[in-house]
């Protein structure tokens, strides 16, 4: 099944989906050395986003967050791709400078997505492909 969205950053990546309904601040919210969410009280606190397809509503916090995403990529612990409900500048810029595929504005929003699904983000076409949709 293919869900249409909008392309923000080019490239394609497949992996395990991890989703949260809380916005993410990469500066001080994610450890750039490990990719583990460290923001106190965040639903993903203690969980690694490294290599995952990370879906969250939008970015929050400092604009330095864009550079933190770049550090994560350099340290091999960035998300493989990102999905936002509504992209804003911090996350979009971070994704583009780090060559992380990114899409937003999925038809039906993020509510139909579940952590653990195996999905492909196509940042060129602005689409999300869920092969095991029926099983999830």
């Amino acid at each position: 099944m293919i869900i249409k969205g909008r392309s923000i950053a080019k490239g394609t990546a497949t992996g395990e989906l991890i989703i949260t309904d809380a916005p993410i601040s990469f500066l001080s919210g994610v450890d750039p050395e490990t990719g583990i969410v460290i923001e106190k009280g965040h639903p993903l606190e203690g969980i690694s986003i490294a290599g995952k397809i990370l879906a969250f509503p939008f970015g929050k916090g400092s604009t330095v967050g864009s550079y933190v995403i770049y550090s994560l990529k350099k340290n091999d612990c960035a998300p493989a791709a990102m999905i936002n409900a509504e992209a804003e500048a911090i996350i979009a810029v971070g994704a583009i400078i780090s060559r992380i595929p990114m899409i937003d504005q999925l038809e039906g929003g993020l509510s139909s997505l579940k952590s653990g699904m195996n999905v492909t983000v196509d940042g060129d076409r602005g689409e999300l492909i869920c092969k095991d949709w029926a099983n999830s």
Partner: protein
């Protein structure tokens, strides 16, 4: 979004990987904010220059880039004065990293002006499209000069420097520049006596009220230094990128502009003079700092006149651009004799030197807003006269 042939060539990678990524940033932002096309900019001002704010992550990114600016592009203040960092108590490790950031920007063709007041040193004309990122400079360019810029982030401003364009949305579009909230004082007569510090206090209070709106002030007659203080503080406590003052700021004097909205139909906010006065306090402080944003020629002269013949009894930091120092050595000499010190390239907010001071008095509503969170400092707001009195008593 509409792209021209040169954009397509850049996107295909013909002009290198850095330019390709930079254009992608501009296109993505255009998409996010609903721009239909890219427009040329006449100048760029790049924030994200202090090692204190961008850290190793930002430095690593900058060092990986390979392109040159195609329009005049200026750098925001850095974390230390380039010449006298050791005298300011800056750690050599920090200075080394800061030098690497400067080298990276220089290689990209960004002019190392290191000032938040680039408008004192270059001509910005009414109606110019810019891509500036330092929030107080954005407020000044839009409001006091009538130029047009959104509040850019560091990377998007750098992208505009290397591509020469910005997506056309927000404050580049005339109708988005019309006010949506009318602000007045409960006692307008009180403002007649106000200097820049009081206008900074007004901005500190008003920014929290208006958020990211475009306010239209009535009943005030501020000059440029007062407008600078007002805008800088509103950009710090709110996200104000443009404000108007009735009959004072350039757009507010244009007949077409006046006819484009009705004051009575907008949301009205009344600010109590007592709330503005309440921002001032008389707590004990360990140091005094002025020049946030960097001082104008008139402001530097005022400080020199007030300090002339006096001796400071506590550290007194004065922040200006290097160009202002070069043009006014006489004023700097007068200040030096008092024991106060004029620093170029940096400021009390982005330099780690401030972090050790504990409590600082300033005449800036913007610094008053940022010092607690960014420097762990207890701030006190006072007029420039009071700042000099406290520093010399």
């Amino acid at each position: 979004m509409e792209l021209d042939r040169s954009d397509e060539e850049i996107l295909s990678g013909e002009y290198g990987e850095t330019r390709r990524v930079m254009l992608e940033i501009l296109i993505a932002l255009g998409k996010i904010y609903g721009a239909e096309r890219l427009i040329p900019v006449s100048s760029v001002q790049v924030s994200g220059a202090s090692y204190k704010t961008i850290g190793d992550a930002g430095l690593e990114w900058l060092e990986g880039l390979d392109a040159r600016a195609v329009v005049p592009a200026f750098l925001n203040p850095i974390g230390m004065p380039r010449e006298e960092w050791s005298e300011m108590g800056i750690d050599p490790a920090f200075a080394g990293k800061q030098e690497e950031i400067l080298t990276a920007y220089k290689r990209l063709g960004i002019r190392l002006t290191c000032t938040c007041t680039p408008y004192y040193h270059q001509i910005v004309q009414y109606g110019d499209h810019l891509a500036w990122s330092e929030s107080s400079a954005v407020a000044y360019a839009n409001s006091v000069l009538g130029a047009r810029t959104n509040r850019e982030g560091g990377p998007s401003a750098l992208a505009s420097a290397l591509i020469g364009k910005t997506p056309e949305y927000g404050l580049h579009i005339m109708k988005k520049r019309l006010p949506n909230v009318i602000v007045s004082l409960d006692d307008p007569a009180a403002a007649k006596e106000w200097g820049p510090a009081e206008y900074g206090a007004l901005g500190y209070v008003a920014g929290k009220e208006v958020g990211n709106a475009v306010p239209f002030f009535r009943g005030l007659r501020p000059n440029r230094d007062r407008l600078k203080a007002l805008g800088a503080a509103m950009a710090a406590t709110g996200a104000v990128a443009l404000f108007h003052v009735e009959d004072i700021t350039p757009e507010a004097r244009v007949p077409f502009f006046k006819q484009s909205f009705s004051v009575d139909e907008k949301e009205q906010i009344e600010i109590a003079v007592s709330d503005v006065n309440a921002v001032f306090s008389d707590i004990e402080v360990n140091a005094v700092a002025v020049g946030c944003p960097h001082l104008s020629e008139d402001e530097l002269r005022t400080v020199a006149d007030l300090l002339s013949g006096k001796k400071v009894t506590k550290p007194f930091f004065i922040f200006v651009s290097q160009e202002m120092i070069n043009e006014h050595r006489d004023l700097v000499t007068i200040i030096d004799r008092s024991g106060a010190h004029v620093y170029a390239d940096t400021c009390m907010v982005v330099s780690p030197a401030t972090d050790k001071l504990g409590s600082v008095m300033t005449n800036s509503g913007k610094a008053f807003s940022y010092l607690p969170a960014m420097c762990g400092v207890v701030p006190r707001l006072g007029t420039i006269e009071d700042c000099v009195r406290v520093a010399t008593e």
